[in-house]
Amino acid sequence: MKTLMTGNEAIARGVYEFGVSVAAAYPGTPSTEILENIAKYPEVYSQWSPNEKVAMEVGIGAAIAGARSIVAMKMVGVNVAADPLFTVAYTGIRAGLVLISADDPGMHSSQNEQDNRLYAAFAKIPLLEPSNSQEAKDMVGLALEISETFDTPVMIRITTRIAHSQSLVELNDPIERVVKTYERNPRKYVMLPGNGRARRLVVEERMHKLADYTETVAVNNMELQDQSIGIITSGISYQYVKEALPTASILKLGLTNPLPSGLIKEFAAKVDRLYVVEELEPYIEKEVRILGINVIGKELFPPYGELSVRMVSEKISGQPGITVAPAFDSPIRPPVMCPGCPHRGIFYTLKQLKLVVSGDIGCYTLGAMAPLEAMDTTICMGASISAGLGMIKAHPEMADKMVAVIGDSTFLHSGITGLMDVVYNGGNLTTIILDNSITAMTGHQENPSTGKTLMGQPAPQVDFVSLCKALGVKRITEVDPFDLKTVKEIIKTEVAVPEPSVIIARRPCALIIKNTEKPLQVVDCNGCKACLKLGCPAISFDEENKTAQVDQALCNGCGLCINVCKFNALRKAGDGNV
């Protein structure tokens, strides 16, 4: 049977069909749905880990113990997981271990753009690149096979267009799920320097064996047609090439670390003009050049952003096509915090107090946008607190003018160590934990503070107050972010005290609560526009009548705006004169 599946769904299906027993991840666009879909197969144990390094280590442990395992993350997550990754390349595994890296060319929802094929080369592990959903599924099987044959972790690198686009996939019955017996082997798995040195040689030897294998493996193959133009390509770029240049000869590479130098030479000799078409880094191109082969690549295609059919055809034909520019000037429609979002009250207050805000990654990063504009920096997951510490170490006088803000999931991901550092190194920084009881930005995943696991089991909940206490924070206050008066007082007090403090602002994400509140009404509005500063998408201004208006369909009745109107013009139905 053939079904339409996204690349992420297809990978999950592969995990099920090819006998994987353990799967772990931290959510991150575009990789999130891989684990969400694996969780639909109860045969596979699947979990959210607090961060990618932990997920990687869970996968490594399971694979060493004898269970086929998979770990998934977005490309920046691999930075977090890189430490264990580089060493498991030395130890090898007992049962197959696959790491999925979901890269985001074009930065649809990421803070940077990185080509993780370079990680595979750097870590010296085999690399597979599917070009559609069917291949994404099949390559899970191939990756597990390579992993076990060559005793190595394997990386599958997808990009957003593979992860989130759907194409047809043939479904098969799952193979039998077997977990091998555990075999003790400290010389292989305990990476003391003496053992590590021996394994270092094994890694080199393995790469030599893989170099032979990559020449004959079926996913590396030539499609010979018109031989005046030859194109070497992989991943989604292959699809663009097929459509742009239907008659060109193609060397399609599926296993791209190590690259098949023999095959590349053979292909190069058959065609008149040779191109490499790849997104982001000149990863294949450099290898081709090292072989002494003249090739055209990054002089035509940019090392950033996504390619497209049109770009491939224009650049290779040398003829600019017709450019179709937007005909109209439309105001942008940026993402916004939802009506009733618990974060809104905090950012509104931070802006009022004119504080410097060291921010982090989550829905609340939207607090950086107009009209709230209350965020100074956002670097990466978990950096808010530690970067905040750095700022006050550079400028001690800033300590009573700044806060770090971080979500519940992000705090558990890697904010904890930053807070530990603040306490340890005497940084009098105020940290606000925005606890909305969920990992909201990626689509509402559970985390260690929510009381549930990915597979739907009840779980103990991390208690932020006790946790912060244990880290050595003495001043901890809890507040409802919608109680604007108290929020303001507490923030003012806490930034002023010369010691580390934590404010836990607690209210669930507006999208996870069953809301029965009525939308607000506007009565006797004075037209002062104070409520517009909240940036609630439900509130707009009627220029004709000079009054604020509340969109009845959007407003969820959270009541936050009642607090900012000095004229009592925003009211719940049933209150006062309404």
Binding site: L4, Q166, S167, P334, C338
Partner: protein, 193 residues
Amino acid sequence: MSKIINVLLVGVGGQGTILASKILTHAAIAQGYEVKMSEIHGMAQRGGSVVTQVRMGENVYSPVIEPGEADFIVAFEQLEAYRWAHFLKKDGVLIVNTQKIVPLPVLIGAATYPDSILDDLKGRVGRFVELDGLKLASEAGNAKATNVVLMGVLSKYMEFSEDFWQNALEARIPAKLLELNKKAFASGIAEAK
């Protein structure tokens, strides 16, 4: 190259473009086409612009539609129709739900919502269909079925058998909402006449 049909569904996060594209792809597969569908979501989940691209034909490679290449654009909201109109082919069909959803920069007074959208578009695209999908959906029983009304309109222009559409609705919509959605779909067909 065999002919490929490109359909772009554009709207605002929360309007149900994804479900609409699932109904469309279901019908297209039944028709015997290879189908690719691309949808980039991430931050767009929070009320931002959303675009879903559906490509169908004998052989479909890229999952992405290029500017000037869409046979059909179904816009769930006026401003999004404006934003994506340049993706339409010269003789393509633009179907616009006249609903307005004002983006935040407009709400806070940092930008203005163009008021001549429908007139501008009428003059510039091959074929133009406008309708109040929200109203039709509400009449059918639920404002949320606007997406299905729009699929009803689109169905008038695609050469799929009526059965394929009905099967797609049955496969993609929960049983208790099916009747209402079938009504919504039918009102879309009627509107397109």
